[in-house]
Symmetry: D2
Subunit: 380 residues, 4 copies
Amino acid sequence: MASDKKGIIERLNAGEVVIGNGGFVFALEKRGYVKAGPWTPEATVTHPEVVRQLHREFLRAGSNVMQTFTFYASDDKLENRGQSLKISGTQINEAACDLAREVASEGDAMVAGGVCQTPSYLSCKSEIEVKAIFKKQLEVFLKKNVDFLIAEYFEHVEEAEWAVQMLKASGKPVAACMCIGPDGDMHGVSPGECAVRLVKAGAQIVGINCDFDPETCVKTEVDEGGSGEGAAEGSLHEFPFALEPRILTRWDMHAYAREAYKAGIRFIGGCCGFEPYHIRAIAEELVTERRILPSASEKHGMWGSGLEMHTKPWVRARARRDYWEHITPASGRPKCPSLSTPEGWGVTKGHAELMQQKEATSSQEIKHLMEMQKKAKSSA
Amino acid sequence: MASDKKGIIERLNAGEVVIGNGGFVFALEKRGYVKAGPWTPEATVTHPEVVRQLHREFLRAGSNVMQTFTFYASDDKLENRGQSLKISGTQINEAACDLAREVASEGDAMVAGGVCQTPSYLSCKSEIEVKAIFKKQLEVFLKKNVDFLIAEYFEHVEEAEWAVQMLKASGKPVAACMCIGPDGDMHGVSPGECAVRLVKAGAQIVGINCDFDPETCVKTEVDEGGSGEGAAEGSLHEFPFALEPRILTRWDMHAYAREAYKAGIRFIGGCCGFEPYHIRAIAEELVTERRILPSASEKHGMWGSGLEMHTKPWVRARARRDYWEHITPASGRPKCPSLSTPEGWGVTKGHAELMQQKEATSSQEIKHLMEMQKKAKSSA
Amino acid sequence: MASDKKGIIERLNAGEVVIGNGGFVFALEKRGYVKAGPWTPEATVTHPEVVRQLHREFLRAGSNVMQTFTFYASDDKLENRGQSLKISGTQINEAACDLAREVASEGDAMVAGGVCQTPSYLSCKSEIEVKAIFKKQLEVFLKKNVDFLIAEYFEHVEEAEWAVQMLKASGKPVAACMCIGPDGDMHGVSPGECAVRLVKAGAQIVGINCDFDPETCVKTEVDEGGSGEGAAEGSLHEFPFALEPRILTRWDMHAYAREAYKAGIRFIGGCCGFEPYHIRAIAEELVTERRILPSASEKHGMWGSGLEMHTKPWVRARARRDYWEHITPASGRPKCPSLSTPEGWGVTKGHAELMQQKEATSSQEIKHLMEMQKKAKSSA
Amino acid sequence: MASDKKGIIERLNAGEVVIGNGGFVFALEKRGYVKAGPWTPEATVTHPEVVRQLHREFLRAGSNVMQTFTFYASDDKLENRGQSLKISGTQINEAACDLAREVASEGDAMVAGGVCQTPSYLSCKSEIEVKAIFKKQLEVFLKKNVDFLIAEYFEHVEEAEWAVQMLKASGKPVAACMCIGPDGDMHGVSPGECAVRLVKAGAQIVGINCDFDPETCVKTEVDEGGSGEGAAEGSLHEFPFALEPRILTRWDMHAYAREAYKAGIRFIGGCCGFEPYHIRAIAEELVTERRILPSASEKHGMWGSGLEMHTKPWVRARARRDYWEHITPASGRPKCPSLSTPEGWGVTKGHAELMQQKEATSSQEIKHLMEMQKKAKSSA
């Protein structure tokens, strides 16, 4: 079925701008189907209509890629935390592939199978053990014949390499994306070196976080994986339940899409916190370059032009680009600061606190964590 | 079918806390199915699965009331602005009733038919003409046998009275809710007087906005109609496309639900900007009083307890009430203020600028509006 | 000497705008001559050149009144807290009068003798005892022949009445000013009633804080006693050592002076935090009405016009009213909020915690206070 | 007289911490004796008592150096802008030396003669012409026998070198301080290279702005020239009349003094916006290292301990280090942002807009500047 469509590499080589999808875990957490903490995607099996609907919203908003909702869908993660239902990783991965393909077929979208970092790696399991986990997911992706593969949300380049090597063996195109900052991965490997190592491992598309200087990116293509709420990784103390004031407006997205395009990035998407209207904003900003508006724009109008039909005259006066392009929205929260201090204790793979366990943290353990936190702060 | 269920009045009289649903127009605008400006609900006909899904999310989050998605679904509004498809008001209202009933039946929820303010009133049509509009919607509600009726989102008490009088004639219980501030309606009628007039007109439940002092409320029942983004009425200059920094966190909702409960309010819901997780937060805050948790709480855990299973130790340390109850989230926007000056030109029904027209505002008219705005500001 | 000058009442009756002086305690604390906590004015004796200099700066900035620096200069206060030097209240009051008169004579200014609230009142001493304290200060004022009298910084109207009654007996004009908010004095007496009681007690000029609605002011004259740092009374948790971000700009002062003038206020001054340049801004805003610029304006230029001679072109571009009138200055503090929660434990005269003692608070007592504070917060 | 005192180099070599003075122009502008824009110091002649008083406040606060108030006191500057009185540069420089020496003699302070950048340099005058200007000031300093010399507030290293070379010829120790950011001087010369060039030119003490990474400083001694209001150079749009919200608290100063000390800096002072209480805070933070408290501390008490004697119990509860060390003061300005965008058009010596002229900028020229500004912003 996918054979008569152009693949991701052909599209990018032809100069097309490919729009990824937004974030599933945050959106479905707010809708009531994903649990913050474990963040596992069993909803593909228990509530398929919900996952299908979100795929459709992204397709309608302009996404060219339906990424399977298989984040944290490895068996070690599902067993390890949160997944009390008796649903296997294979079931979840298969259902996710079917849902993605079903909606992709309703438009001209590709399906990408996704893997991400594992608790096994954090708990110091061997390369063979960790690769076996990726292999199990990959077998489903091949059986379901996805169009390409994405290894994303890796904080350690070593684990990302293992994932890419495993995925690459399939012969499908592989994109790799790390969730790291300018200081590099959690072992201090620089962004530039991460990119080189991922390409060597076999990735044809390499993605890094948008808070990087774009010049450090590899020349080929880059998946801009910004976070719609600015803090996928939990370093902000507002993560994950008080990030609302940071949610990007659609106009923030316009600026971001333009900047990414200028930096030569041609595979542009988002992750945690990107709702369908954020994806639509990417498509609207790049309408000249892409020569197409998404279906969802019929319910929008460029730069707020739909307001021309508002009841109130002062709102109608806002139906213009100049108004929204320069707005500085108030937070409505005068007792809150505008910036907060990121957290993170400098611990990484191999530290006792990062060994993953099946049991929920006990209140005794939380007390211990609060003491560690206090120590981390006072020594900062 | 609805006959063996307790009605809204019986429930409130029995001391139950009834939870309303959240907001459809803002949520569906972000999902890509409602157009900001006209805000009309043709999605009930064009994309019923989308409306059904949102109803389900609210039901799952704890809503006891499925309000029909019939906001601005009067013929004069649909003709007047935005509704270019050839779908009649009757079609939209019927579809909305069917969808609400379908989902209500999946749980123990009631269906409420809703009407709201009309462009005809703003354009100085007569009482007879305006009442005829409400009557047309009411006929659908009766045919579809909704459980009770809500007249909501009225800025002029006179129009609200007309609506209540018309709805009351049906014999169904009527709730009335005005979107006004402490200075009263747009003609300066005080909140207290509004409430008295609405009760006299026949309303058994009277609702006012949460920015009121609760003591000014009538003693019986009150529907707390807060806005999840703080600005349903467009007076904030961030309305409607840059309200993100104001979106309430789930913890803001806990505080709001508690305060409403303390003030004696027993019908608690939300409007524009209330997502399913906001409704869930009301249900979770009042779990002791209501002795039931909603289905969606299986994907939450009280006060963030799901974080006990997060990978990172510093995030696990946040799995406790004390952390979230006192958080002051940063906006991440240091070049933005925390409060902005509300707009509103003091014009109301009868002013030329408020006469409603079918055509979208032209760029010539927008220039004129911008001049009015400048004048309004300098005289402030 | 003062006999050939018009008095304060004649001036106000003739429609003149009389400008008071700014604040001594905060300014001299920053210069190193007043101790925060006790706030007593022994500098009039120990460093007269410093007090003289500040009087001169206010005179030069446009002040028509040199108020004696006799704040907290009553014997009970001096003994009670902080004044370890062996200087009597009489010495301080006499020196203050001499300094005020010396500088007043260099211009066309009046001298006002000032009394304020006493620790004796807070410690439940009798009317007779409290009045005896005011009497002792008054005797100095009469001996030194001040032009009029001010009873200021009273939080309890009862004590203010006692002060006014005592001062009135002298035959000199009396102004009275309370440092209260819209909720009235610390016993809950409303602002309106406070004003009536002070007039009945003999005050010809009644002043209230600028955070009042001006309509509640008595018709005659009102001394606008705003605080340059927004928190004379210590209710803000930034008081007194972290108020910098709240210091008014000169442009804030322009707006304040205009508003006070519009409200009919004709005796306009400031208290804690008002530096000479704030007073100059009052004089510059009201230059048309007063037909005179102060000497200090030779070093200013209206609305920043002195910037016409700045080196940098982008700073020269700011030499215009429009620029400064609408500026919203950034705080440069993104980790700080814009508003904080006022403190105050609801205790007043008669509570044990308000009984004044000679000894400094011990660390044991501070622990006890911190516990009270915690309790006050959690019950709020 | 100065011969029996240890000199600046001996003191620093002996490991002493030498405290400089704060800022004269901003403090005296607020007191009414300096005009913002020209910023010239004619007050040394017209109001010597005012300059003497400020010197005394700094001495009392702990300053070990009385820098002559000779900022912008070169003849070309005085003629060029603002100085309409017929007072020569020589008169101003002489008076400044006398005042500094008079107050220095009241304590154990040194006198430093200061020169700064000139309009002649900006207007492309030759090295010979610019050096002649410094020479004229130097002759006064030698006649008045100052203890050492400071070349400060230079934005171009070339001009600073000329100044140092000229001053060095006198045989007195020379300190040099540039007001540049991490990007180097206005011609792009890096901080490190600036330091090397200044040392080569003859400076024994080299100072840079506190926003530098201290590691980039030369090893010997460094004068930390922070700005109390954060914007000496005018790049902030709040400069110079709306900087209030940025004024450092005394606790900010504690942190700054500690950080400077840790970085090995031993000559610590301040410039624009540093009031006497800021200098006192440096002295109080370093009391253990310096084994002496300044006189002004008798009116303070470490870490707010004077509050032990406040009337209100909740203010007494603040008499402790822990309270003030961690305070995040609110701005009280909810309609203002916390950060603003710095300005600066990238123009430097040689650009037409920087050629200095005698006449004040006309309103025609201001219009032109506003257009340049608009262009600079839109191209940013």
